[in-house]
């Protein structure tokens, strides 16, 4: 099938920027409105004054508050659970948090980089060839 002129370049550009499919402006606005009115509980007048960056900052703040609330709840849960568990099988707040909050992509990249640093060149080659499951 003929892919048309510039198609390959566009595909390559998408690969470089890491975007699968960029949202259109209208799609972005719908997402922004849903987030502002739903998650952040803002009023239309407040939304009207927001830049893209400010909306992102508000979302970051909301995420931070959510993590603090979860930490408080999980501290109580871990304390209640640990009363009934043996020392070796006791749960930590971090363990419980980890099940609900997936590490962000950057964290995954950092972890992967640290993991690769620890490997010998032979191990590195093997991981590249077979992945991490075949040790």
């Amino acid at each position: 099938m003929d892919e048309g002129p510039g198609r390959k370049e566009r595909k390559a550009k998408k690969r470089v920027t890491g975007q699968e499919k960029a949202p259109t402006w209208n799609e972005y606005v719908r997402f922004a409105e849903r987030t502002a009115y739903g998650v952040l509980n803002l009023l239309p007048e407040q939304f009207d004054k927001l830049t893209i960056g400010e909306l992102e900052q508000l979302l970051d703040g909301w995420e931070e508050r959510r993590k603090i609330r979860l930490r408080e709840q999980f501290t109580a849960v871990a304390n209640l659970m640990n009363i009934h568990l043996r020392r070796e099988s006791q749960v930590s707040v971090e363990k419980l948090m980890g099940q609900l909050i997936s590490p962000d992509e950057d964290e995954v990249v950092r972890d992967r980089r640290a993991f690769f640093k620890e490997l010998t060149p032979e191990q590195r080659e093997r991981v590249k060839k077979y992945g991490t499951n075949n040790s």
């Binding site: 690969r15 470089v16 920027t17 890491g18 960029a22 259109t24 402006w25 606005v29 922004a32 939304f47 009207d48 004054k49 927001l50 830049t51 893209i52 960056g53 400010e54 909306l55 992102e56 900052q57 950057d106 990249v109 950092r110 980089r113």
Partner: protein
């Protein structure tokens, strides 16, 4: 974080701030997708600059793009503005400050805003881009 830029050309101390709704209104008025209007490969023409000024300085008075066009001409004639490139770069900075082009370009334009955490994030983004380029 900076979300607006100071624009002293029309009144001292005015802040040029482009909100999500500014872009939506601009798109409706110009009848073209905003992504196309503000494409990184396209330079900002005078009409677009005036429209963006009308949107970004909206809170200081309801002046339309024509008004800003005339004022820019007056400023150029009076020698208060050296060339149209001055206002062009200011408007471009306001677009970047609103994070229309994303966080990376924002930090590249305003490196003084970067914290240590942001620097680490930028490093990760750079690595990701390199990885995708080589893939």
């Amino acid at each position: 974080m900076k979300n607006s830029v100071i624009c002293d050309y029309f009144e001292p101390g005015q802040e040029l701030k482009l909100t999500i709704n500014s872009y939506s209104r601009l798109q409706d008025r110009m009848g073209k997708p905003i992504g196309e209007l503000l494409s990184l490969t396209r330079s900002l023409d005078t009409q677009l600059i005036c429209e963006l000024l009308a949107e970004g300085l909206r809170k200081y008075g309801n002046h339309d793009a024509n008004w800003y066009g005339n004022r820019i001409q007056e400023l150029l004639d009076e020698g208060k503005m050296e060339s149209i490139a001055d206002i062009q770069s200011l408007v471009a900075k306001a677009i970047i400050a609103s994070r229309f082009y994303g966080k990376e370009l924002y930090f590249l334009t305003f490196p003084e805003e970067m914290t240590e955490e942001d620097k680490e994030w930028m490093k990760v983004q750079e690595e990701k881009r390199e990885k995708l380029k080589n893939a």
